[in-house]
Each structure stands twice: as structure tokens, then as C-alpha cells.
Symmetry: C2
Subunit: 330 residues, 2 copies
């Protein structure tokens, strides 16, 4: 492995330590749990707290979305593994300011189980906790079974909208409703061109043959819907856009936010090559790109590939999307 590594068992602790050092103006470690990253503004009295969490290896997600008018506390898991229930619980306690906490996380078995347990513990503490489960990955289940879909980069929009709504002083039910609307309005798809390697494992977590690509791949290398011959960037962009928009089925004139994220090892210039074509395709369907994001927003170690997320907007979502934010990831 040509990687920057010490002991693979230390990678998450070292990542979090380096992250907190690099962004000490915005975040701190929870004093009682080194697997909880907390915004320096967390716990403001009377304001709904925003919590998320997930496995490591997706940086800047999840920790990078901690900050002002965004996520208040993040539970940090091992590479590609759910945080513990205790870490979610500690994150909820750190985020609580007496107005309740919205836990906005992705639809994975471990996260579902641990958030459920953490919620029970927090309710015993007297903290009101409600959840939104992100399920924006179109390829992971049919639309009729949306509750089975995985959460991917649409989570960033869910956090942005939820954090902004909390910043308006809205009560918990309204924060939950805004975050739920955000993720309901999101559709995502991933395409993989190359695998990644968990350092402790030492070999790639799946394989993609040279000249092939995996359409619908998940953030941890979960199998996609099909393996195809590697196409041109424009053909891939067309395919990704079609998968997302066919599922979305938005009326012409709809304003959308678009997020194109590299998966870790994709050169930045290629993301712009993809986006150039995707934007044309989105506009060709009569949609209006209100705000685009292109970069490494939600990665999977050194996987080669990209994910496209489209969120349909309304007046409230536009206002919340535009609210001033300070976090390392955006």
C-alpha cells in the first residue's frame, strides 16, 4: 500500500486529532469521548442541536460538517463502521441546549441500531431526540422501497438544511420537518472506477477490472446495479444524470442544488469535466441549477469514482441552503 500510515489501528484517532488541530477555531473534541467532535458553538440554550455520525474514511464527511449553522456534534466510527451507541449518546448530550436534538444520519444497519439505543439513553437524560434517516442512493433499492435505500452525499444537504433551520430558532419538530424534506428531495448515484483498501485489511475491498466501471456503487464499495465497459466522461455523466433524474421525475422549471463529489482519488479536473456535461443534461430537462457544488465532499478513502446528488428546492430550502455557514467541509 502506497499510503501515509502509522499503525492501521490508530488511523481514526490520528485523523480526528489532526482534524481538531487543523480546525480548532470551529471544533473541539468532547472532553469525555475522543470519538465525538463538537462544534465550538454547540449546546446553545434554546436552540435545537444537530447530531450526525458514521464510519470514518469518508472525510471531510462526517466530521468536516461540524460548525456554525451546521452540525453541532459528530459521532465518529472506525473506518467504514458505525460509531458506538455511546458515541451517538455523547454527541447528543454535547449538542443539547434544552430544545432537543435532531439526529440526521444515513440508512445503514449499524447506524440505525446505535442511534436507536443512543436515543433511548438520551431520553432517559430528559433530552428530546428525533431522527431523520437519509436514503438518497437511487441504486440501492427501488423507489417503492425508498426506506431501504442507503444514505450517501445527500446527507450533506440534509445537514445544511437542518442546521440552518435550527439556526432560525425553530422548534425540534420544524427542524426535523425541514431536514426530512431536504433528504426526501434528494436523489444520488455513484459510479466507481477503482476500489479502495482498508489499511488493516491490506487488499482492495472489491475489484473493478481495467476497462470496466461499476454503476450504482455504494460509499463502502457496496455492489452497484451493473458493471459496464468504461465509457467516456460524457457518457458516464449522461448515465448518472439520467439515473438520478429519471427517479426524481421533477417538473420543468424546478430549481435544484447539485453536488458532485469525488470519491477520493479522482483528479479534481475530471470532476469539472463531468460537471460540465451533467449541468448541460440537467438544464436540457428544463431544470434550473440554483447552486452547484463540485469537489471532494464525501469520499471513500482512495476510491476512484464520483457521486452525483440532486436536491429539488422550494422557497424554504433555498433560504436555508443560502444561510451563512462555517465548517471545514463546505
Amino acid at each position: 500500500m502506497q499510503r501515509f500510515l502509522n499503525d492501521p489501528d490508530d488511523i481514526v484517532d490520528e485523523t480526528v486529532a489532526g482534524f481538531v488541530r487543523a480546525h480548532a477555531d470551529l471544533v473541539r473534541l468532547d472532553p469525555g469521548n475522543p470519538r465525538v467532535v463538537v462544534s465550538r458553538l454547540a449546546g446553545q440554550q434554546g436552540r435545537v442541536g444537530i447530531v450526525t455520525g458514521g464510519g470514518s474514511g469518508h472525510e471531510p464527511a462526517f466530521i468536516g460538517y461540524t460548525g456554525r449553522n451546521m452540525v453541532d456534534a459528530v459521532a465518529v466510527g472506525e473506518l467504514f463502521s458505525s460509531p458506538t451507541a455511546k458515541s451517538f449518546h455523547d454527541a447528543i448530550r454535547a449538542a443539547d441546549g434544552g430544545a432537543g436534538v435532531a439526529v440526521l444520519y444515513g440508512n445503514y444497519a449499524g447506524d440505525n441500531m446505535n442511534v436507536k439505543m443512543a436515543r433511548k439513553m438520551a431520553v432517559k437524560d430528559g433530552i428530546a431526540v428525533e431522527t431523520v434517516v437519509a436514503n438518497d442512493d437511487v441504486s440501492s433499492a427501488p423507489l417503492a422501497e425508498r426506506e431501504k435505500r442507503r444514505g450517501v452525499a445527500g446527507e450533506i444537504f440534509m445537514w445544511k438544511i437542518g442546521g440552518a433551520k435550527a439556526a432560525t430558532g425553530a422548534p425540534l419538530a420544524e427542524v426535523i420537518a425541514a431536514a426530512q424534506k431536504a433528504i426526501d428531495n434528494c436523489r444520488s448515484v455513484g459510479v466507481g472506477l477503482g476500489p479502495c483498501t482498508l489499511p488493516a485489511v491490506g487488499h482492495p475491498n472489491f475489484s473493478i477490472a481495467p476497462g470496466k466501471m461499476e454503476v450504482g456503487i455504494g460509499h463502502h464499495g457496496e455492489p452497484g446495479v451493473r458493471i459496464e465497459d468504461l465509457k467516456t466522461a460524457n457518457a458516464i455523466a449522461d448515465e448518472m444524470t439520467a439515473i438520478v433524474l429519471d427517479d426524481h421525475n421533477l417538473p420543468a422549471g424546478t430549481e435544484v442544488a447539485v453536488l458532485l463529489s469525488g470519491l477520493g482519488a479522482t483528479p479534481v479536473n475530471e470532476l469539472y469535466v463531468l460537471f460540465n456535461r451533467m449541468a448541460q443534461q440537467i438544464e436540457a430537462r428544463g431544470l434550473v441549477i440554483y447552486r452547484p457544488f463540485v469537489g471532494n465532499y464525501f469520499t471513500s478513502l482512495e476510491m476512484v469514482g464520483a457521486t452525483l446528488t440532486v436536491m429539488a428546492l422550494d422557497a424554504e430550502l433555498k433560504l436555508l441552503l443560502d444561510m451563512e455557514t462555517a465548517c471545514p467541509g463546505l
Copy 2:
């Protein structure tokens, strides 16, 4: 090649087109030259213009540093190749607001030649043009021959400081002096763990054997000062920090800005692992990290590796570093 590509000859045009689409709030294409990206705030009357330029494949550099209180216009070259003299000339014209233009660029033969020609053309137009040549790469020549050193990620600090000084309304000579001080105060080093491939060439531009690393590598794969066995992340961090700080020789108590950039295919979490150790080493020398930057700021296609840049600060540089900025890269 497992890459997102159309015709390799189109990659720069498509990158620029996607970039301008994605960041249309901040930038536009020059109407007369599709290889010049211009800030929407460029050409303000009475304000010194800031120009840079360089080869493509380093995104978000160079185009990503166009914006408010940063670079006004960027000349865009082919992958890893200098922009033309005409593009530098057109960038100078786009940036000019009657108070002259500072061209802040890196020390490469093609750029030196083309900026020199562009300057002559611009002077004929009646535009005052002065230049600063970045030479922060410690490994590319001894300190006694600093004028031979290459420019690398220290250029980002040079642009930030130059752009901020221009924003204060300072005259050209003072903008040049501030940018010169910024780069004089920078030292950088790169370490490569894996090569990159120019799509039109189709094979890696150099090779690094598995289990080896190249210390002092340049942004285009220029040979480093030595090939070593691949070490732990901490040992690499120690070596990079020592190379930079031994050359810098700063008195204890000096405040510094630190920029750690991935070279394209390095997972983001590994940058934090490196930074965690580098920060400890920098502080162990009695230096004070005033502001750190960790991310993909100046890449080399999908090269695996990282560069470390340390800029020594004084009161003026701190003020200018902290000035509000809006550009895609920061």
C-alpha cells in the same frame, strides 16, 4: 486508465468550462480568450489587478484562486504546460483597472518566458506590470541559489497576500512588496508515493516502486532529492517538517501559516494523520501555528503524495492572511 475522460485533447477546455459553470457567481471566461478565467470583480478602477497562470492538472490551482480579494485573472495552460504569452497578456488586460497589474507566478521556464513576453505587450498597451516569481520548493535547489527553486503550493499564500494587499487600495509597488515578502517567507517540500498519468500520453510520467517514496518531488513529477523506503506517516511527517524548517531557520516564537496539500489521490484522512504529527513537530521547534490549511489545495492530477508549506508571518502578513476572501479554492 481508469479515468473520467473524453478526448484527451479536450480535457482543459472541458475542465475550464465545468469550472466556470460551477462557480459562475465568482468567475467568468474572458470573452476573447477561452484560456483566461476572470473574477467577476476584476478590473475595478484604481485597484491593482492580480494575475497568475500555469499549467492545468493542478486544480483547484490555478483557476480556483480567482475571486474576491484574491486573483483577478488566470491564464490557463495545457496539462502541466505553461499558458501562452497571449493568454498571460489577455489576463493582464482583464485584471487591469488603471492602477497596474501584479503577475504572481511560479518559477518554471515556460512561465518565465511567456510572462516576460506578455509584460512587454501589456506595457505597450500602457499597463504597468510588475512580477513576483514564486520559488518556495526547498528541494529544487540549495538556499544559496534560491532563484533557481521551483514555485509550488507557497504560491497560494503569495496570491492570498497579494490579493489582500490590492484590496486595501495599496499601489502596485506595495502589492508587489507584500507578495514578494509572502513568498520569501515560504518554504515547501513534496513527497510522492505514486505517479500520475497525462491522458494524452497514457502511461505514468515517472515511476515509484512499491514500498518506496520520492522525497522532494515536484508538482509535475520532477525528480526529488532522494528515493527512500516508504516510512510510517509519522516518519514522513517528521522528515518533511525537518526539510522545510531546517531551510527556514526561524527563531522560536515565530508565528507561521501552514498549508498541507494532497497531490490528488491521497485520501483526505491521511492528510489529517500527517498534519497531526507535523503540527507537533512545528510546535516542538517553538513555532506557533497561527493558521493551518489541510486539504487538496494544489494537486498534480492523481499523484499520490503531499506537499507541506510553511510561511513565516509578521503583523502585516497576518492581517492580509485574515482578510475575507471568496474563491473556490479556499
